[in-house]
Each structure stands twice: as structure tokens, then as C-alpha cells.
Symmetry: C2
Subunit: 676 residues, 2 copies
């Protein structure tokens, strides 16, 4: 046991003696550091569970040199989750309208305590979005689709009687970053999720979430009425179907009074939906919305749709949902992935943002690293999300960002039952970043990184700088060594780990094949989405459409997303497309090497086992980056027939071997780091 | 079939029409290019097989624009293998004492024809050494110990009746580079080699070799009298044993009148020998010498001996053989490996060179790449051998090089039955280089490389430059990424491929363990052979001993061979030992990358299949170089406990995985290139 762990245990024991509530999670995630031992004196005017949690958190974590007073309910000028903190001479006054507001205030204050000792100061904070949600793609059998951190937290066979200690730890972690909603199950939903026995288990989880301000949602299978209700149809306009859903919803609320609502993936990738019955997405969503409205529940309806028959998948979400703008009930939120295809390392923002102006829209981001290296690669996603949120949609006018076009944020969780929750310590930063950005969409990646490093490692300023630099450069590194310059969907069939731009599965949907997206040929590479091609550019505001439509003006980072370019075509940098592509892949590899050096520089400042573990991850990442570079450039080179430019390393791996390489993993697992 | 191959076939057919002797090997090795079609007019005053071969070679290869006249026997001023070539106005006169001299002249003239068209000029050439020998470590079962080019050329089950076409091709290739002796079988010799049935097979091979001036030798097992003769002993001073050997030798010469003699490995690595009977190496060698002398045969007695009990293996050859100097019969040659240990990528020269002044000494070099990457890595060995030959022994006085201390050269062959003879095309250059250096020990590696590139690829000047640079840098690259700064014997147990500095085989001979040699410890690394340690330095001339004895003066390339150095000790370059070690490993990896770029530059100038094949080899070499660097530096780092310096890449491979890594190969095979 390390000295730090011994210290934590001693502190824990000490605090156990003085408090009724014992939290075994004081070494948890970004909550693990307690810089100021001793108990703070804290008063609170409410005794609800939530209020008591807020007060206890401050007693345990504020430090004996500070005092706090929590005043809930008085400040009518504050919105429901808003709070005000006022610090004078070591005494902190927290004011909020609700006890949840006070809870968020407590965590904010504790965070400030870690980052810097606040002098006399005051501030107010309200969330940027009312719905700040995690989506778990957990299945009832305990597997997690695209999960790389162990198995599902939810122990279905133990529930409802036995509650894992992790449920409360999870709730606490989420509350500390302002997450107030959780979808427990996979959007590829099993109808069984709504069976009564299952709902009782869900209710047990909801009971643990509730004091932490978190509402539980469920993903539903649209054919549930037929599948588990015995109905002959699941047509949303069928009275019996609507009745079935009303009764199901009522039953849920009888068990879970603050149930959040449903998340729906319908008519997408083979899932059932209203279109099976000749109905629209709005028909389906609104039927569910009517059932939920009396209980103040919400329908979150995903816009992730694409048909295997269309010539440009990137256009379809827009094509299907824009005509429905304004037709959704008030308690429907349309959840749109950040980009038009599917969570690629970089995509232009979805044109639905800013276009659907009469519908509540949520941005769906992916925290789990399905396309950015699983839990093997270090990839801090805040820069990616920041790029999305700050993108100017120019709708309804210039300066209207994606951030301004949405009212909610959802993140596909990277959480599982592995000891480190997320597969590795650095991946925890993405969970943290998602919560912080959902609460405050103006936070910069740098600010978030500095917070997280200070909270997790106790490092600030110069000591933290190497880690901060490593985190901030990591996403661009992943883009560069995987899919630079707007390339996308080059990954391996099925499990999605590693490059497979040559993938050719007989009989597969063309839009699941990498070649559909890169269109590499002797004449060039890239997908022509310009006005001379699929014209997907036209889905954007005119200003953007003109920019994207021109190969000369289009930002290089999107060039091959919007254009099929000749290998020798010049790019803005002066290099040819081929040379620039090669240079990007090399830059990605070099970036990982630089990340290794940065991480090495903090050896001795980080717990040895964490330092060694991330060191291992970086070594895997470097090998994988070379695998990506060597696979993609050699494969594309068979079309370009050009040598690698100076400064780009010749490959070390054989193309024909990489083509035969098959990982023995599925959509629910992460390759062991030693396989390659 | 490529155009070139078609052309060759046409030429072949054309020449077949005009000549009795047809050689199917006109596309063979460095003999493959025929720049000048048509038949030259050649006259010769002798009609021996050898003379006719010489004349036919010139007819086929000189070109119709030149004529030649071979005059054998007249020039009494020339030594037995010497020749003179005189060219005036396109007419070449070859003068030699023997027909073998004329044969060597023919190959020299053909070589010049390829390199540059000689204007009127004349030159004389005599070999630097009378015995220029290949040692094959081939076993009777067809395997080749430390062979990486397929199986043994010698088809024992087909002999003596059926002769593989490759025997003559092999003889021709050797004659073209002046090799005049061949040991057919492994120095770990099977007594069965001397059985009568075996000897008849050997005779059949000797018949093919003879016209090409090549004498056949055999490696013998010292216990043959007991093993196959039924004698109760093999004591060299036993009259019955001596008689047995005399009769055996007579029987051999009855079959093979120009038999060369015996190569003997005795009392080494468990092989039997005179010391088993309390006799000396000289006793054993002289007994055999007496049997061979009447037939003008030679005993080549290896000095590769080391006892598992001594504290410094590097001293033992000297300790055992120096006292015997002057005690060997006149027809005994003591064959000494270039360095005191065993063919490591770099060793200081063996102190026996220059010390044994009353004994004929041969240098034994290793052409097969047992310790330099098998037939996977590109490693041109001429620079290594040049370093050995030009080393100043200072004995008997300053300026006396190793080259001047020897009268013969032996090379452990890298030849097998693979289509490319040596495992890859570039490896052929080492066979070529050995022969050329044995004939002319003043040739530089650059001259040899240029010859070989021109002969093999038809490239000269600027076109050849990238290949020349790649070849000339390759040996130092191997030293750097495997065992720099005098490190040695770090390779894997058994098969010797890849790093295993951590090797620990319970119960194994200590001097077979890498730790015996590197002695890595928290206080430093390296073997103290200075006067403060094993004092191996004292085996050298005083000038060298003083140089090697000083850590400050000792050349960095031998530093850890002669000294145990602290990790922080300064080196001449200004870096610490640890930092310099890391930089060398990185330089090795970087060199391989540079070699890849150089090879890429000649794409299109080389046959595509050869270019692609060597490209593959270089990729394997790069992966292996990284394996060596990551394995050695991480392992040594567990002792040094220091970070890698700036400019040295962090590892990409896991030490604990490399420690478990076990190749499924033996001492007779090469790992497939895709294993890693």
C-alpha cells in the first residue's frame, strides 16, 4: 500500500469517527484529493437528503480553516439549478433556490478549494443547458456496446435488493460535474427493459441517483408494445399502442416519481420505428411525448438515421429531420450527433444545428472512445467538443454557434466497472470534461485540463504543464494518425479498432465500407460533397456552403470530407494532397512520441502505478499510430503510386500482413494492450 | 518473364549455338549481367578443363568488340596464381603460370568490362593470401548450423551419382572472386563424414570444384578413430590412432588427389580433442599434419576455445595457444576468429594476431549473419572486416596490421539452397566481399560495394550512390542498435536472434549468459578487462594495452568491452555513459530509417521483385532495431534508473512482454519476416 493510500485510509478513519456519513470514495476520480485535513464547520437550513449531502461534502472537504453556511430556498432571483457563493474572511455563504443548486455549489466550492484558495470573492453559476445527460450503452447481460472499461455498473441480477457501492460513487461523481440525467441502457434497446421486474431494478438505481440530483432515463425499443405487450402492432398512431405506452409510463412513474423519460433510436441501423408503419419520426416521438407529458417526462429522439440506399449518408439526417422541424411536441428533444456521419475523430458539425429552429435539439457527443482508440489511446476530447460548440452555424445569422443552437447535451458514457472506471486514468478526464462543458459551454479545453489535473493529481502550474500539453495535443494527434484532412470511416469492420481502409466485406452495406468514404482511386481521394458532387454543402448556411464548396477555400481539416482531390492537387500549405496527407500521418506518430516525452517528464510527480500504466498506454498508442500510418499510406499509395515525401518515415509494417490481421474482439471489448 | 530475362535466354540460346559449354548460370549472383552481346574471339594455348573454362567465360562475356589471347605457362616470373593482363586496342593478352591463374584473370577482365571499358592498360594481380577458404557449417542431414539461406547445397542422398547443377554454379561463383578452398561440413563434425561411402560423395563434389581451382577440405571429429574406426582411443600420440589417420588420409587422396586437408574444432564447446587425453592442441594438429604432409595437405586448427570456468573468456584463446607458438608443423594453420569472443557485431581484434609469430595464422570471419540479423537484416560486412584487417597490432612493431599477421582467410559461408543463395540479394554482397578481400586485402569497402552494385544491378556512379551509401552505413547501424560501445553477447539464448540481455537460464554456463558480458548493475555497465580487472588488455602490445587500459583514451567503440563504467561517467563526446548508450541505440534505429529512404530512392532502377523484397527486409530490420533498442535500454534502465535523454525516443514495446517473447526457431533456421 502506498504512503498516499495509507494516509487516505487514516484520514478516512479519522473522519469516520466524526461523521455519520462515511464515503469510501474519497479516493475517487477527480474527487480524490483532500488538501486540507480536518472538519469544516458547515450549517445548512434544510435537511433533505440532497441538502445533507451538500453539507457533508463541505464538512469533509473544505478544510478546518473555512466555514460555510448553505441557504436553500431564499434566493428567488436564482433559477432552479443556479447558485451564488460568497466568501468573506474564510466564511462561505451558499445561496440557491433548490437543494440541488446547493449541491452543485458545494462541489464548485470544493473544486475552487483545490485549485486555489479563494480570497474574498463572490460568484454566481447557472448551467448552460438544463439537460446534461450521460447515455450508457449498457445491455442487460452486463456487456457495454462500445465500452472499454469493463462491464456495466448495473448489477441486474443483484438488483433491486443489493446495491453496489459504486452506484452512489457514480452519482456523486456525476453530481460533482453537474450531470443531472442518466440513460441506463443501450439505445439498441431490449424490450425487456420495460418489463415490471426490470423497472423495479431501475427504480432502485433511481433511488440512489435522486439525492444527487440525477434523473434516470431509459432507452426504449419502439416495438415494445408488440414485443412484450403482446399487441399485434407498434404503430404509434394505433390507439392500443398509445394506450399501452401511457399505461407503461404510468407504471414507471409509480415506481420512479422523477423518472426522466425515454431515449429513442428508431428506424436506424435496423432498429424498429414509426417508419415501419408508414409514420414519421414526429408521429413516433409525439405519441411517446403525450404519454410522458403529464409526468413532466421528456422524449429524447435520436436523429442518427441513414439509409443503405442513398448516395451520401452524410445528408440523410438533415433530409429526414428538417421537414419535421416544428412538428415535435414541446417535451421532445431531438438528439443530434456532433457530425453528419458517426463520431469520427473529426467531422464538420451536423447541418441540423442551427437549421432546426423550432425544435429542441441536443448535441450527442461520444465520450467512450469508439473511434479514438478505445481505452488504449490517450485522447482528451474537450478540444474536439470545443471545436463543435464554438462552430459558427451562421443560422439564423452570423455568430450563432452550435452552442447557441442546442438546449441539451448528451454524452455516450465511457464508464464501466473497471477499477479506474473509464479504462485508464486519463480517460476519466473526458467524463469530467463532458460534465463541465455541459454546465458551462464557455469553458476552454485548457481550463478544463488544468482543473482536472489539479483535482486528480494535485499538480498545478509548471508541475502540471507537461500533462496539460500532452492532453491538449492528443486529439489532433489522433486525427493526424488516423483520419487527417477530413478523411473518415477508415476503421476496421465490426469492432472498429485499427485501420482497414481496404475493407471489403461481400454483401455488406456500401455505406459501412471505408471505400465509400475515402473513394481512393488512381485519380485521387476524398468524397465529393461539393455542388459538383453530392452537394451536401448546400445543407449549410450559404456562407459556409460557399466556403466548403471551394477546394481552395475549404479548411484543410475538412478537405477530403467535402472534395475528391487529385493526388497532385495543391493544398493551401503548398504541398500536394498526397504529400500533405503523408505529412499528417507522420505528424500524428511524432505527436505520440512527444506525448511520451511529456509524460516521462512528470515521472516522480505522479503515483508510480498510474505513471507506469499511462506509460504503457502511450506505448500501445505509438504502435497503433504507426499501424494506422503504415496501413493507410501504403494502401492509399497503391492508388497514388507516389513515394513518401522527405521527412515521412518509410513503413515498418507489411501491407499484406495488415490486410490479414484480424483482432479477436467484438463490439464490446477492448484489445489487450499487448496484442501488437 | 521480365524483358531482361527474355534477353538472357535469347543470348543463352545464341551462345549455345556457338559453344560446346553451356552455362545456365548467366543470370547468377554478381555474374548475371552481360553488357556486351555477341561472342568474343578468344585463343588459348592450353586445353585443360580450367583453361577451357577461362576461354569460354571470355567468349561469352567479353563482348564481340574485344579479343583475347590466354598464354599459360610462359611467364615464369609470376607466382602460381598470379596473372598479368595487357590490353591494347581492344586486344587482351592474359599471361599466367598456371591455368588457374588464367581463370582468375578471365574473371578479373570480365569484372573490369562491367565496371568500365578499359582503355589501353596493363596490370598484374596476385592474391594477398594463398588459402582463401569458405567454411560451410553444413550437416549431413541437410541442415546448416547458423544458416539462413535454406538447406545445404550438398545433396548427400543423390551423391555421388547425381550432381546438382548448383555445384558448378557455386564453383564458378567462388572462382570469380578467387576463393580456392571449401570446407564442406560443419566444424561440429560428424565422424560419419569420413566413412568410405561419404568420401565417395565428397569426391564427386571435388571433381566439380577442381576445374574452378577449388580444393575441397573436410571438418573432422577428433574422436573419429574411436567413433568410426573402432579404436579404443583417439589419443593423438597413440600409434594406432596415428596409423588410422594416415590410412584414412591415404584413402581420401586416392579418391581426391588434390584434397585440401582437415579443418578441426577440438576441445571447444564440448567437442572432443587432444586435451581429452592430456595432450596439447599442437600434439593433435601435428599428428594430423604428419598424415597429410606427404600429400601436400593442410591442417587448419581452430583456436576458438574457452573454458566455462575461467573468469574472462576473452583471454583464453591467447592463453591456450600462445604457449604453442612455433610448435606446430609447417602444414598447420591456426585459424583464429577476428575477435576474442565470438563474431560479435564489433570486437577488438584477437590478440593472437601478431602474437603468434612462428605459426601460420588464418583469420576466421563470419559471412553468415549469426549475430548481425540473420538473412533478415541488411548488413554489409566489408567495413567490419576492413576494420579488422587494417588494425595495427603493433607487433612485431608499429604498423604491422592484422592483414600482415595472417597467411590465410576463412569465411563461415552464408550460402544455402535458397533461390537467391544467401537469403536475400544484398547478403550476396558479403560472399562477394569476402572473396575479394581475401584476394586483395587492400581493397576498401567502398571499392567492393561499387564493384558489386555494378555487377549485380548494372548501376554505377550517381545511380549506384544510394545503394552504396546504404551498404556502407549498414554495419555501424547494426552495431548501434544491437551492441554499441563495446557491448557484446546480448543476444537471445539458443538461436541468437533478437535481444535478451536479461537472459537467465538456470544451470547454464555463466559465459553463455549475457550478464557475464554486460555486467549491468546499479553502479554501471561493462566488463572490466583493464589492468584493474581481468587484465585482458595485457595480451595486446604495450601501446595498445595502455590505450585500452585507460577509460579516457580507450576508443568509445570498445569502451564497455574493456571497462566497467559508471552510468554517469563522462565519455569523450561529453555525454555520460548512459546518455551515450541511449544515443547509440537511437542512432541505430535512425540509420535503418535512413537506409529505407536510400533504398526507396532506387525504386525503378532495380528489378521490382528485388526492390520489394529488400524493402520488406528493411521493414523487418527496423522493427527489430526498435526491439533491440527498447529491450536493451529498458532493461539496462532498470539498473541505471535514469531517463532517456532528449532526442532518444521513448520505447514502444513492453519490457515484460519482451522478456516472455520466445521465438519458435532453432540454431538452423531464420525467423519468418512476419513474426513480429
Amino acid at each position: 500500500m502506498t504512503n498516499r493510500k495509507i494516509l487516505s485510509v487514516v484520514l478516512l478513519a479519522a473522519s469516520a469517527l466524526s461523521h455519520a456519513t462515511i464515503h469510501p470514495s474519497d479516493t475517487l476520480l477527480w474527487l480524490r484529493r483532500t488538501p486540507a485535513p480536518g472538519t469544516a464547520t458547515v450549517t445548512c437550513n434544510r435537511t433533505t437528503s440532497t441538502a445533507r449531502i451538500a453539507a457533508d461534502e463541505l464538512r469533509r472537504g473544505l478544510g478546518a480553516d473555512l466555514t460555510a453556511d448553505i441557504r436553500i430556498g431564499a434566493a428567488k432571483d436564482l433559477s432552479s439549478e443556479q447558485y451564488r457563493i460568497d466568501i468573506r474572511s474564510g466564511h462561505c455563504v451558499i445561496a440557491s433556490r433548490t437543494d440541488v443548486g446547493a449541491l452543485y455549489a458545494a462541489y464548485d466550492l470544493l473544486r475552487q478549494r483545490q485549485l486555489r484558495l479563494p480570497a474574498d470573492t463572490a460568484w454566481t453559476s447557472a448551467p448552460s443547458y438544463g439537460l446534461r445527460m450521460l447515455n450508457h450503452w449498457d445491455n442487460l447481460d452486463g456487456t457495454i456496446e462500445r465500452g472499454y472499461a469493463g462491464r456495466s455498473l448495473w448489477q441486474w441480477s443483484d438488483l433491486p435488493g443489493k446495491l453496489s457501492v459504486r452506484y452512489e460513487q457514480y452519482a456523486r461523481a456525476n453530481a460533482s460535474i453537474g450531470i443531472n440525467a442518466v440513460v441506463l441502457n443501450n439505445v439498441n434497446a431490449a424490450p425487456e427493459m420495460l418489463a415490471d421486474t426490470c423497472l423495479r431494478k431501475v427504480a432502485a438505481i433511481a433511488d440512489v441517483m435522486r439525492p444527487y440530483g440525477i434523473r434516470v432515463f431509459l432507452a426504449i425499443n419502439f416495438s415494445s408494445p408488440a414485443a412484450i405487450g403482446g399487441l399485434p402492432t407498434s404503430d404509434p398512431l394505433d390507439a392500443g399502442v398509445a394506450r399501452w405506452w401511457r399505461r407503461k409510463v404510468d407504471a414507471i412513474y409509480a415506481l420512479i416519481p422523477d423518472f426522466g423519460g425515454f431515449l429513442v433510436k428508431a428506424n436506424s441501423e435496423g432498429l424498429p420505428g414509426p417508419q415501419d408503419f408508414g409514420r414519421t419520426h414526429a408521429d413516433g416521438a409525439n405519441m411517446l411525448a403525450r404519454a410522458l407529458a403529464p409526468h413532466k417526462g421528456v422524449v429524447v429522439w435520436r436523429a442518427f438515421v441513414y439509409s443503405p440506399s442513398d448516395a451520401d449518408r452524410a445528408k440523410q439526417a438533415c433530409q429526414e429531420f428538417l421537414p419535421l422541424d416544428g412538428r415535435f411536441a414541446d417535451n421532445v428533444v431531438v438528439q443530434v450527433k456532433n457530425g453528419p456521419v458517426d463520431f469520427q475523430p473529426r467531422e464538420p458539425f451536423s447541418p441540423l444545428f442551427g437549421a432546426m429552429r423550432h425544435t429542441a435539439v441536443a448535441a450527442e457527443l461520444q465520450i467512450t472512445q469508439e473511434y479514438t482508440g478505445f481505452s488504449n489511446h490517450i485522447c482528451f476530447l474537450a478540444p474536439m467538443w470545443h471545436e463543435v460548440l464554438t462552430a459558427d452555424t451562421h443560422r439564423p445569422h452570423d455568430g450563432c454557434t452550435v452552442a447557441s443552437a442546442i438546449t441539451a447535451m448528451a454524452g455516450v458514457a465511457n464508464v464501466g466497472d473497471s477499477p479506474d472506471w473509464c479504462g485508464n486514468t486519463l480517460a476519466q478526464a473526458n467524463w469530467y470534461a463532458f460534465g463541465r462543458m455541459a454546465w458551462d459551454n464557455a469553458l476552454t479545453p485548457q481550463q478544463i485540463a488544468r482543473e482536472w489535473i489539479a483535482l486528480t493529481f494535485g499538480l498545478k502550474g509548471k508541475d502540471a504543464e507537461p500533462i496539460e500539453r500532452m492532453m491538449l495535443m492528443s486529439h489532433e494527434a489522433v486525427v493526424d494518425y488516423m483520419m487527417p484532412m477530413g478523411l473518415h470511416h477508415l476503421f476496421a469492420w465490426g469492432h472498429h479498432y485499427g485501420p482497414e481502409p481496404w475493407c471489403d466485406v461481400p454483401g455488406a452495406r456500401p455505406d459501412w465500407m471505408p471505400s465509400y468514404y475515402h473513394k481512393a482511386a488512381p485519380d485521387g481521394i476524398g468524397f465529393d460533397r461539393s455542388s459538383r458532387g453530392s452537394n451536401a454543402v448546400a445543407q449549410y448556411a450559404d456562407t459556409l456552403a460557399r466556403l466548403y464548396d471551394s477546394p481552395q477555400l475549404c479548411p484543410e481539416k475538412y478537405l477530403l470530407w467535402f472534395h475528391h482531390m487529385a493526388w497532385d492537387a495543391p493544398t493551401a500549405s503548398g504541398s500536394t494532397v498526397w504529400d500533405a496527407l503523408c505529412a499528417h500521418y507522420q505528424a500524428g506518430v511524432d505527436s505520440v512520441r512527444a506525448m511520451q516525452k511529456l509524460w516521462q517528464a512528470v515521472s516522480g510527480k505522479i503515483e508510480p502505478d498510474i505513471h507506469e500504466s499511462i506509460g504503457r498506454h502511450l506505448r500501445t498508442q505509438l504502435r497503433d499510430a504507426i499501424w494506422w500510418k503504415d496501413g493507410c499510406l501504403q494502401y492509399f499509395g497503391t492508388f497514388s503510386r507516389r513515394p513518401l515525401p522527405a521527412g515521412v518515415e518509410e513503413p515498418m509494417l507489411e501491407l499484406d500482413e495488415m490486410r490479414r490481421f484480424g483482432l479477436d474482439i467484438d463490439n464490446y471489448t477492448c484489445p489487450p494492450r499487448g496484442f501488437f
